[in-house]
């Protein structure tokens, strides 16, 4: 897969970013893409940082650690942003269209890449569900902390 130039990867990442941003309300899209301050625009910058990493891995080693870290950041965000699972993960499939249009690869190579996209999407779906569950868990933990000392006190007395 040496045939993909950095410029081409960059173009794909940009289009893919556009797809991801498309899932946000219109007035906020440009801000998410353009505001480069990672502290002023944490959500947009997570997308901007992680999407090229995924592209890199897709054409590279598909390193589990790197893919996982990137997807985690994206899904952690989308799990609390009012998306259904389908909406949260859906933009990943858009990469297939981009691959077809942006690369001159043969059918076989394309099929292999598309398989990788499917892999990414499935992993993302897992992560999405994991974060949704985590939300319930941290909610329960918080409730416990809220009266933790009272509980300790009563259990010692009891």
């Amino acid at each position: 897969m040496a045939g993909i130039s950095p410029a081409r990867k960059h173009a794909m990442a940009e289009r893919w970013l556009a797809l991801a941003v498309q899932t946000y309300p219109v007035p906020s899209r440009r801000f998410l893409v353009d505001q480069r301050d990672p502290f002023r625009n944490p959500a947009g910058q997570a997308l901007r940082k992680r999407i090229p990493e995924l592209v890199e891995e897709l054409f590279g080693e598909m390193d589990a650690g790197k893919v996982g870290a990137a997807l985690e950041d994206l899904m952690r965000l989308r799990a609390v942003q009012r998306f259904s699972a389908r909406e949260a993960v859906g933009f990943l499939f858009g990469l297939k269209t981009i691959l077809r249009e942006e690369s001159a690869a043969d059918w076989e190579t394309l099929a292999r890449w598309e398989e990788r996209v499917d892999e990414l999407a499935l992993a993302a779906f897992d992560l999405f569900m994991r974060f949704r569950e985590q939300i319930y868990q941290i909610q329960a933990d918080e409730a416990r902390r809220r009266v933790a000392q009272l509980e300790r006190m009563y259990s010692r007395e009891g």
Binding site: P27, R30, F31, Q35, R36, P38
Partner: protein, 335 residues
Amino acid sequence: MKALVPLAAILGVAGLAYAGGLLPGTRALLGVVLPYAAMGIFLIGFSFRVVRWAWSALPFHIPTTCGQQKSLGWIRSNPIENPNHKAGVAARMALEILLFRSLFRNSQARLEEEGPRLLYAENKWLWLGALAFHWSLLVVLVRHLRYFLSPVPAFLPALDAVDGFLQIGAPQLFVTDAVIVAALLYLLARRFANGRVRYLSLPGDFFALFLLLGIAITGILMRYFTKVDLEGIKQLALGLVTFSPLVPASVGPLFFVHLTFASLLLAYFPFSKLMHMGGIFLSPTRNLANDSRARRHVNPWDYPVKVHTYQEWEEEFHDKIASAGLPLEKERTRA
């Protein structure tokens, strides 16, 4: 839509005023009645709004503090961003009003692509645009005094000389004329180009910008591009301020567009967001000293409220207080 209706309104006004400037019957209406009426509306409306703000009570002491408070002597406090004295408040207000301090606070962090060094870039276009517009407007307004004063005070030619320091063209280009148009165009472009700002803009926001642009452009046209009878205009202006109005025949229709726009601005002012000019002085998050623990602030409409008194509390929990061995105000003999 939000921009089209205001634009149409402004163009319509321009057309009417131009036509009115050509017809003898309406020249007095546009040159005398309209400016007086507009000035009347402006003065009464502006005062009314300011007085109404002033009459609204100031029940609590709510400055927004943007720096270290004055507490322990050895901790350096920030007397301007967090003033605890009137002098500090005056400085803070001056910075806000003259230099738009808060708008300047728009710092922006950026990570270098490789390596974790943190850079702070500045994101000051809005501040610069706003400052350029307001200061130019002020200078332009002051320059206009020469039409209303006779003899012309000495500082005005000096101001003209400074403003025209570039010494380009004849008549000499005033820097503020170029800057005000550029700044207004920037502010307008921003309302169109920035999705967020476009989304939150109202027709009135565009109306104000179009109107100001209209005034600036007609003024510039008269100064640099078409021949207008300055003497005639000065007679008209002096007539207005000395209450002996006249409309010299030599004043052309373009001037009437300019004058009508200016009148419209005055009349529109008290009904619009432009009132921020007066409001900024009264903003309680900025014009109060952060001394609310050192000096008591009184709420003029304070009223007594229902509270749960200690006595009621002790009454309700008497036995529990007693059993916990806490002191009581009123020992109760057990039955």
